[in-house]
Subunit: 117 residues, 2 copies
């Protein structure tokens, strides 16, 4: 597969399995829809080849902001997710960042060194 | 919020945090896109009001098939996710089911009694 969507998740929040899954799903849906509007070809190629998704680790919220800036510079769609804070986290906590979909060769410049969950 | 998207995940597979997050994200993106084509109004209302997502438990794959049939009878979009099986699971393992988005009053008829993750 030539395209992927990456979701970077904060390690320092220690979210439960269900909580993390919902946050990653928010990031994937919104980042994919942003890409669909901004770069329909990338979206379509990614969707049709099987929608590869990868979840990686970032230390803290500053890490997410850096990744977001780097991705935007390369023309990659992003989606920063703030939790409504009804359960585990304080309201407005930034939990994760959706990046892409984008061609592997471009997105790897931003996320290639991050560890998988 | 009047709409939600529910993802039912098999308890018997004991997936890791990262694995489960990716499977739930697959289900959310595909079920949402199916709804967008099939019932654009439900998709738009759900998207604009904040895209509520809930992750619930099912015992096994038979449970997912039952939920899928019930949802389809009520006109709710679904997405059954089979894992490519490159890491934790045998190839083709059905991991989870995306249901909706749909109005709460309709989707609760299918998923209202399931336990949260």
């Amino acid at each position: 597969m030539d395209y992927k969507l990456v979701v970077a998740v904060r390690e320092d929040l220690d979210m439960s399995k269900g909580k993390m899954a919902v946050q990653v799903a928010h990031a994937a849906v919104i980042s994919a829809m942003n890409c669909k509007r901004k770069n329909a070809k990338w979206f379509r190629n990614w969707y049709d080849e099987g929608q590869k998704k990868v979840v990686v680790r970032t230390e803290d919220v500053a890490g997410l902001h850096e990744l977001s800036e780097e991705a935007e510079k390369l023309g990659i769609s992003t989606a920063t997710i703030d939790d409504a804070g009804l359960t585990e986290l304080p309201p407005g906590t930034t939990t994760c960042l959706g990046i892409g979909p984008a061609p592997n060769s471009i997105i790897d410049q931003v996320t290639g060194k991050l560890k998988l969950w």
